[in-house]
């Protein structure tokens, strides 16, 4: 179990759309890779070789550097049995750990409940994105849902500060608990006040922030910067969640995939540089995952939905290296034309839950799964 003096923090960066495993962590010495990827295969000379068997996509230079420093774990062949190749359904499964039924509670919502059972800190979990991710949902657990940290808050369309303050004050009074209100009104009251207090707590983050790191001008870098600002403001947030969309590369993958990874790698480099500058990196790890990998054979322009994928965990506390087995590309080993998952994602979650966040994994992931020991 990894230990740090400061409370361990988890950042999840969801790669939405189904990131292509084969072109991200490339089995360049496997002749089947070239056979199956005549059009979409990454040119040999460009691949960033990590060892004799695999290399990274050329756009992932910054992340490759982290691997070489021993700070990145590559988790091979993650997935679950009977892969669903639907974006939303598969993502739901990753969020709720319920492959067979309709889950409504997220693994990190449940984890937040364990970390802060009395809701002493309503910004324990922070979600960056216009909607709340199901991974963070658990009835009664407050989650701060931020889209733009600079403008986050209630009634932010009221520009005049003094006027807004007056209205928010009035808002708080109308939402105050009152004897005789029914349960739904009480719930509305509590939720409204939490939303307001959460916004009040978080708004100091950009105000307190100074840094020498210049983040790239991309949406993902902006999100990670927001996360950094909240983390560095010392507000006690333990779980951050954001996503980057666009990985559904059915067509034109050679043009699109490199840009996605360039933006993501750069943003992650900015993020960890920023944290390191403030001596706040050692107790933070970042998980990158996607809802499924993509088909082994390309479709002439891109790749279609697959099954087994790759995940990464990055951080000072991570025992760098490769975990699990690269699934076989041989046709007889594939599952319906896709890489057969070799490691259940719930084992990956279990490692993070138990060995990082210090909460019991079994009730959250609903079972016992093989834990890759990257922590």
């Amino acid at each position: 179990m990894a230990t740090t003096e400061k409370a361990p923090v988890l950042v999840v960066l969801q790669l939405s759309g189904g990131n292509d495993y084969l072109n991200t962590v490339i089995p360049y010495n496997n002749p089947l890779y070239r056979d199956f990827r005549p059009i979409v295969g990454v040119p040999e000379g460009d691949i960033l070789q990590l060892d004799d068997e695999v290399g990274l996509h050329p756009s992932m230079g910054s992340i490759g550097a982290m691997y070489n420093q021993g700070k990145m774990a590559i988790i091979h062949g993650v997935g679950y049995p009977n892969s669903v190749r639907s974006h939303f359904r598969s993502m739901d499964i990753w969020h709720t750990c319920e492959p067979d039924t309709m889950g409504t509670e997220g693994w990190l919502g449940l984890a937040t409940r364990e970390l802060d059972p009395h809701q002493d800190n309503i910004v324990t979990a922070v979600s960056f994105g216009p909607s709340m991710f199901r991974a963070l949902v658990s009835p009664g657990v407050p989650v701060a849902c931020v889209d733009d940290l600079e403008t986050y808050g209630l009634l932010t369309s009221i520009a005049a500060q003094e006027k807004r303050a007056k209205i928010l004050n009035r808002f708080a009074q109308t939402y105050a608990p009152m004897v005789g209100t029914d349960s739904v009104m009480s719930y509305l009251g509590q939720t409204g006040l939490e939303a307001m207090q959460g916004a009040d707590i978080l708004k100091v983050a950009p105000e307190r922030y100074t840094s020498n790191v210049a983040y790239a001008d991309t949406t993902i870098a902006t999100k990670l910067k927001g996360i950094a600002q909240i983390h560095l403001a010392g507000l006690g947030s333990r779980i951050f969640y954001c996503d980057h969309n666009g990985f559904d590369t059915h067509a034109n993958q050679a043009a699109v995939h490199p840009i996605l990874w360039k933006d993501v790698s750069e943003a992650i480099e900015n993020f960890f540089d920023d944290l390191r500058e403030h001596d706040a990196a050692d107790h933070v790890i970042m998980l990158l995952f996607t809802e499924f990998g993509r088909r082994v054979r390309d479709n002439g322009s891109g790749t279609d939905h697959g099954a087994g994928g790759v995940a990464f965990v990055i951080g000072d506390a991570v025992k760098g290296g490769q975990y699990g087995e690269y699934p076989s590309l041989k046709p007889e080993d594939q599952t319906q034309g896709d890489l057969a998952p070799s490691l259940d994602f719930r084992g990956l979650y279990a490692t993070i839950l138990e060995d990082w966040l210090g909460v019991d994994a079994k009730p959250i992931v609903k079972g016992t799964f093989e834990k890759p020991n990257f922590l």
Binding site: S86, H87, F88, R89, D92, M102, T104, I122, S127, P130, S131, M132, V137, P142, V143, A144, C145, L154, L155, T156, S157, I158, K163, K166, I167, R170, F171, Q173, T174, Y175, M178, V184, M185, Y187, L188, G189, T191, G192, E194, A195, G198, A199, D248, H250, A251, S301
Partner: protein
């Protein structure tokens, strides 16, 4: 015109539609409540022209895969329709027969499905079910294209009984199987595979050779049933009348517990549900007849503010009230995504069970989105609907803080608030004194104060109800 007439009409229009301006409320109240209910059931207005939207957004014709693109066309109809109950029923059936883009991955077919709900949603329920069974999006969604006489797939057969008609506990696993067998061969005609940037239209096809024509025993009846026969038997079941009645109660009258709990939790008003169920059976499954009974009933008229608005009702209601969003300006795609930020991604429900409704629409993220959206729109005093409200307030001359607050609550609804809440609003208004219009500067300030008061009202807990 009596205030209670307006209040009752506002209640009807919020439930049977998406609210109404004061002008519309007065016009409808003048015609009378019963006449209005009839007009809602048989609307006279022309339907919204889909091409009024498409000519400005040709890219939304058979849109491809981006979120929000598919529902923009429907959103335009929601904002513009003058046949509100018909459109409310589209939302109703979309919730009950929840079919989602996440798997169907074919916006055109989902739009065609809701178009079918618009055409048939207030007609005969039995005919609607048959159309649903033949609907390509539904066939794909519930895998009936994989339902073969030699390899039965029970997904559609099960959900037809569990979610679309009778509800859990009213049939056996054998019934599910037999129903599924009856629907073998009900499939989608072969279509070319998808292109990179297009999808081909789907058509229903009945493949006789793939249909299991042999004898089946379903809910105690025996015969060589085909799909329509199953639907006929299902419609005859008292459980179907009860289940549908409860759904209509939940959607139009007052929030019930979530559907999965219906097997173990009785309705909050069993008599009301029974009344609606009887209307269903007596009319031979005519939805209009049930709706008529519902809207004319006392249990409906008395159920003021007994539901938490769905995100669609929040967004569409506020935009229709404030005005200015009728024309499909650039950005309508973004507007169409607003309900998804509040938890309701139209045409993409999380599963065939639809959304969790009532208080479960609310969490700290969605509540903030609802409040911010409402405040953003209602604080924009240049919008036509807001200007109309300001004019009505101005026409009353100078107003005391109490009168000012009451006038705003009246025009935004009328909205009922608790005495403590009203007192807070009055205290807020009192800080700036009388609302006066005499001098131009005063009028300018007063206009802003009206906008601000509407924003404050939109942020209230009470405003989350309808």
């Amino acid at each position: 015109m009596a205030h209670e007439d307006i209040a009752l009409m506002a209640h009807l229009m919020r439930r049977a539609g998406f609210g109404a301006s004061r002008e519309e409320l007065e016009a409808r109240a003048a015609k009378g409540y019963e006449a209005t209910v009839e007009e809602l059931l048989h609307p006279a207005a022309e339907p919204v022209d889909r091409y009024a939207f498409l000519r400005y957004h040709p890219g939304f014709w058979k849109p491809i895969t981006s979120p929000g693109m598919g529902s923009a066309a429907w959103f335009h109809t929601l904002l513009n329709t003058q046949r509100p109950l018909e459109e409310k029923m589209v939302l109703f059936w979309h919730q009950v027969f929840a079919t989602g883009q996440s798997k169907v991955d074919h916006w055109h077919e989902l739009i065609a499905q809701v178009d079918m709900f618009r055409e048939r949603g207030m007609g005969n329920y039995r005919d609607l079910l048959v159309e649903l069974a033949k609907n390509p999006a539904m066939i794909y969604w519930l895998d009936n294209c994989d339902n073969h006489s030699r390899a039965v797939n029970e997904n559609w057969g099960r959900e037809l009984l569990e979610l679309f008609s009778m509800g859990v506990g009213n049939y056996s696993e054998t019934d599910v199987r037999e129903a599924s067998r009856a629907f073998t061969g009900w499939t989608i005609a072969m279509a070319p595979p998808r292109g990179y940037y297009n999808r081909w239209d789907w058509e229903f096809e009945y493949i006789e050779e793939d249909h299991d024509d042999s004898e089946k025993t379903f809910l105690g009846h025996t015969g060589r049933f085909n799909g329509e026969d199953i639907i006929d038997i299902v419609c005859q079941q008292p459980a179907t009348a009860q289940f549908l009645a409860r759904h209509l109660y939940n959607f139009f009258v007052a929030d019930e517990v979530q559907v999965p709990a219906w097997q173990v939790t009785p309705p909050r008003d069993p008599e009301a549900v029974e009344t609606l169920a009887q209307a269903f059976t007596a009319s031979q499954y005519d939805i209009r007849s049930v709706l008529r009974v519902l809207f004319l009933s006392d249990f409906f008229k008395n159920a003021r503010f007994a539901r938490i608005k769905s995100p669609a009702e929040v967004v569409v209601g506020i935009l229709r009230l404030a005005g200015g969003a009728e024309f499909p300006a650039p950005g309508i795609g973004n507007l169409a995504k607003q309900p998804s930020y509040m938890g309701q991604d139209l045409l993409n429900p999380p599963s065939v069970e639809g959304w969790h409704t009532g208080s479960e629409w609310i969490n700290s993220g969605t509540l903030m989105k609802r409040i911010n959206f409402a405040a953003d729109v209602l604080g924009d005093i240049d919008r036509p609907g807001i200007r109309a409200m300001v004019e009505r307030i101005k026409a009353q001359g100078d107003l005391s803080p109490e009168a000012f607050v009451d006038r705003c609550l009246d025009l935004i609804g009328p909205l009922q608030v608790r005495p403590e809440t009203r007192q807070q609003l009055v205290d807020h208004a009192r800080e700036e004194g009388t609302l006066s219009w005499g001098v131009e500067q005063d009028a300018e300030i007063s206009r802003m104060r009206v906008g601000e008061m509407l924003q404050l009202i939109a942020s209230l807990r009470e405003f989350q109800y309808c």
